[in-house]
Symmetry: C2
């Protein structure tokens, strides 16, 4: 729903397809490249759903799209409604680890370590980008910071997983200790 709504929101004024991609990529700081084809498929679906309509052509002959009334309502609703976090998006990594701990043939520790390497590398890439002025643009800078914050949290969680897994491994042979008060979550 992100691309769809982002394009809708960018149609605050009439724009043509190629322009929409450029706007999208510029604002998200090229963190999420967008195939041009997807702009057009999305636009035609939006048109089908009555949220967007053709708005003639500009001076250079490029065909413009504009919001319908329903489209304006949709955009307003998108901005007025927070992204649902009470029923959060499936997270592939969490699912993977949750499944891995139950499948005996999988070395969970290795999965965790590999993921930390990968995430660490991504994090360094984000920081390099950030330092090299890719965050000068306000929107792009915020997006980059979002990725950084998320990667940091992911690494902290992976560390947390490791220590819990170590404890679980040692208690699986010994009797269960009444673990309760601890610094981190739970």
């Amino acid at each position: 729903m992100s691309v769809k709504h982002a394009l809708l929101a960018l149609l605050e004024k009439p724009r043509y397809g190629y322009e929409l991609r450029a706007e999208f990529e510029q604002r998200t700081g090229a963190s999420w490249p967008l195939n041009v084809g997807q702009v057009y498929t999305t636009l035609s679906r939006l048109e089908r759903d009555g949220l967007v309509e053709a708005g003639g052509t500009d001076a250079e002959g490029r065909s413009l799209y504009q919001l319908t009334e329903a489209g304006k309502v949709e955009v307003k609703g998108w901005f007025d409604t927070p992204v649902e976090r009470t029923q959060p998006q499936r997270d592939e990594l969490a699912i993977k680890l949750a499944v891995a701990v139950a499948v005996p043939s999988v070395d969970v520790g290795k999965v965790v370590q590999q993921q930390r390497n990968a995430t660490m590398q991504a994090l360094q890439g984000y920081r390099r980008q950030s330092r090299s002025g890719a965050g000068d643009d306000l929107a792009g800078g915020l997006v980059l910071d979002r990725l950084i914050f998320a990667a940091e949290a992911e690494i902290r969680w992976l560390d947390h997983c490791e220590s819990r897994l170590r404890r679980a491994a040692s208690t699986s042979t010994a009797p269960e200790p009444a673990e309760s008060a601890e610094g981190g979550a739970r």
Copy 2:
């Protein structure tokens, strides 16, 4: 790709459809409910792709599914390959804010505040669950912690956004630094 691979991984031993849903939900601590129908649609697609095959019926007459050789390879590959973070998943919230700062009719501060409320509420829900022993199960506990860590990071980022937006707002009344026409990328 999460559901598909999770089901594949759970098929380490032959199982039937309903069982797969139960396993999935138990391990992810009911954080991500899974419609039973999706289990069957996914299974038939996996069968179509040669990763899974029918494996007879169990004592109670329930039809079992099992991994093919290709399926085993696929599972191994899933666990051996870290979740891609160098080309991260589109994040709806980041996109929303990135677009919002460029659309003058949107009150970005309000969007941020509403999101913080929603995320805060979700976070409290997770903590309540965690305290009420939903994290006794190892896998479920890790998933819950993941959600907690992610929500905390999101809130920190939202705070960070607010302060950057305040700073940007105070400099936007002052004359614009004349170098922005260059277009972000270098």
